[in-house]
Symmetry: none
Subunit: 232 residues, 2 copies
């Protein structure tokens, strides 16, 4: 399950560095030092993500981003110099999905790339690579297409977040999923801190709707100090 990633930066050292790190993660990398070649690549290759520097010799990242958005939906990450703060707003409104300011830690960028790919394949892909869009076991039915859920033939009215959480738990049934993992899976790229009890509150709501209790859970079990799990 690899992905095709485009990197465009006229600073060759940076483009090369990013290339090394991405290849380390087994991504296919298309690397260009100018906009013209990049645009060509966008037309001819089936890309999964693009990393664009804003300043380029022959054009700029925004133009490329706009070009991409005309025909494609894959995520775009912008590279901006530190003092180009304004780019944040502009870049994002122009359709970039994330931005990273220079200088950056290569691994930070890699993490962002992964986050975007995860987000993209989860939400935007009509034909999922691996994941099914129907989970059915032990009286629980989850339909990702319709976002419907039934428990023992009784329909549950779940909010989007609740559905996502239950989906992740169900997809990993039998395995303990930590709050942090749940958070990352459901919310995507944001950072997690222990003081954030959002997941917990949603679990509480889920249990309520499933007529489940925290003390003697039938469905979502708490594994102390580790996370939550649904039995197989």
């Amino acid at each position: 399950m690899t992905a095709n990633i485009l990197i465009v930066d006229d600073e060759q050292a940076i483009a090369d560095l990013v290339e090394v790190y991405l290849k380390n993660e087994n991504y296919n990398v298309f690397k260009f030092y100018n906009g013209k070649d990049a645009l060509n690549c966008i037309e001819n290759e089936k890309l999964d993500l693009a990393i664009l520097d804003i300043m380029l010799p022959d054009t700029d990242g925004f133009s490329i981003c706009r070009k991409i958005r005309e025909r494609h939906k894959f995520p775009v990450i912008m590279l901006t110099a530190k003092d180009e703060e304004i780019d944040k707003i502009t870049g994002l409104t122009l359709g970039a999905d994330d931005y990273v300011t220079k200088p950056f830690q290569p691994l930070e960028l890699v993490a962002r790339v992964k986050a975007q790919l995860r987000r993209f394949t989860r939400y935007n892909s009509s034909e999922p690579l691996r994941e099914e869009n129907l989970i059915e076991f032990a009286g629980l039915v989850l339909n990702k297409d319709t976002h419907e859920c039934t428990l023992n033939e009784r329909p549950l009215s779940l909010t989007p977040t609740e559905f996502s959480i239950l989906w992740v738990l169900a997809a990993n049934r039998g395995r303990v999923v930590s709050s942090e993992e749940l958070f990352r899976e459901v919310w995507g790229e944001k950072y997690y801190s222990n003081s954030n009890n959002t997941v917990m509150v949603h679990i509480r709501h889920l249990r309520e709707k499933m007529h489940d209790s925290a003390e003697h859970p039938k469905y979502i079990k708490t594994v102390w100090g580790v996370g939550y799990k649904i039995e197989k």
Copy 2:
């Protein structure tokens, strides 16, 4: 029984310091301040372990790690700057066996080196290098995914720390594991002092749950002056 250890760090002071400590332990040390010489060394020397800084003038630790993994199986320890927290995950998935964050206590690093060498020489014979998440032997079953544990088909309800301790003992079955080693494995890189009897208390709880006794232990045996072990 000495070992050949490669250390690569462009911060000469650090590389030199590590060298001193490793030589003090009678290891043969190959020290380099850049990636090129290190790669050369990897080709020509029969190494037992490598310590790699991530940031290098001409390349990076991951590239070297990948090179090593193409041909060799010996353990690799990564050095990461404190703020490169994310490296932990990425570095490990890239094939490093352990990571140490800068700044570090030299003796801490030495301890890690020893641990890796021990692990390697042990596993290298029959067992796979990659850690499993299921240990099953002599009536004891430990499942890291579900955090479940059964002893002779009877489920044991273990706390996270108890589970970790039993896991380490089980993973090292047949070998004595000292309290200090247990502490480091379970609690991470924190410092250990002899006056700390936390491990002992947990062992006591474990024995209780396993219906084991200190005088005539069936499972967790005390090796006087050394540590604890579980028979194979």
